[in-house]
Symmetry: C2
Subunit: 245 residues, 2 copies
């Protein structure tokens, strides 16, 4: 679960080109080094509960976390997936609005909150990068609202698979293509929480896509996409929109 020691500096950091610190000059990184520390969590462990006081903000370095909300009666809605380079927390607010849970084994790079807030005002590059990332997140959240509000169960599953396929391709520095293979990072229940469905419906729709030849399954988690266009056609999005995204 620990990172190799040589990765624990900003210079060797795997997310140095995407994270909130990606625009920083060497002297600014040195300042960040002074206020940072790493934390690791095993799959399933909570990172923060909604309402908790937060004494840090952080970047996901490796692994995946979920951002979610739960109602009194147990109904849960995932409101975001946090992937490497994504930012956790919010300068200027000290209690967390949502639960953060490690979906896979997870390592985050924490910055002490007060000093980070100070750097935000003195280092415009950090603030500008955070604004850019936040605007991107807002667009993604709004796109997901269409999925939650208007898509059918089958379209929801296809949309999720398409997103994971794209992210996976980006991570491997490849473009998504026919015949690609990827691993589902989520259980059926987590997929249900993300899509606003039950786990039974998720299972049934995955089976339906398999029977329809849209995907092939190797075990429960490994997915093969014989034709990317066929998968995208199932999402309900029009084609030029999905290539634009």
């Amino acid at each position: 679960m620990d990172m190799p020691l040589d990765a624990k500096t900003c210079w060797n950091c795997p997310i140095k080109h995407q994270a909130v610190c990606s625009r920083c000059e060497p002297d600014e990184l040195t300042q960040l080094e002074d206020i940072k520390y790493y934390r690791s969590y095993e799959a399933g462990q909570p990172v923060i509960w909604a309402g908790d006081h937060m004494e840090f903000v952080a970047s996901v370095v490796t692994g995946i976390a979920s951002l979610s909300q739960t109602m009194e009666d147990g109904r849960t809605q995932m409101v975001g997936l946090l992937l490497p380079a994504d930012f956790i927390g919010r300068p200027g607010r000290d209690s967390a609005p949502f639960d953060v849970v490690a979906v896979s084994d997870l390592t985050i790079c924490c910055f002490r909150k007060r000093p980070f807030e100070g750097l935000m005002t003195t280092t415009p590059r950090i603030a500008a990068r955070l604004l850019e990332m936040t605007l991107d997140e807002l667009d993604s959240a709004r796109e997901w609202m269409l999925v939650l509000g208007r898509k059918t169960a089958r379209e929801k599953i296809a949309s999720l698979l398409a997103i994971i396929a794209r992210r996976d391709a980006a991570l491997k520095q490849l473009s998504a293509r026919d015949g690609m293979v990827f691993e589902l990072p989520l259980t059926r229940e987590s997929m249900a929480d993300y899509l606003g469905l039950t786990l039974e419906t998720v299972s049934r729709q995955i089976s339906a896509l398999r029977k329809g030849g849209i995907i092939e399954l190797d075990g429960k988690r490994r997915v093969v996409v014989p034709s990317l266009d066929a998968l995208l056609a199932e999402t309900g999005d029009d084609f030029d929109e999905s290539v634009r995204a």
Copy 2:
């Protein structure tokens, strides 16, 4: 539809304490004055279509606009309501990701995009305020995802009424209270587009809340809330969460 002439300066602007420019010093406002112009739209008119090139960013001054997405087959999801002081557009991107439509008669204060982007880098107060507003919008969008993904039709309607009630009270500088009266700014169809429902279901659930004594209707648009707690109880949120929000 036009604003009175004396409101057309930053010094008399009705949103000067909330908008993206609210932190600016007098000399910074003078710079903004140079690059701004007003536009007005009648209820129902489009402001921007998704994909359009945008030569400005803007603040809503008076009226309400909607931000929405439409699928090829006509399914529509509203992804945001833009109220006075809310910001339209995105520095650093020149095509609009969503449709913007005037819901009521609308006046916006436009800033030419290139000069505004220049001011963003030289005027940290503008960038800082925009970051704060964007983080708030992101939290709101994520809260709305719970409504879309997990709430029943009745809870969705109650949640929308509660939001409008709160905003209306805030606008009038009052706190929401029992017996309050407000006007619905949306048609049944727009409410349906916001909530991920059909207009028939919206109509039926509003009737059900009326028959249940949760609300009273005066005409189609005017709503009376005899007991705010009773309305909040119908939203499905737990009480301490709803007072926190």
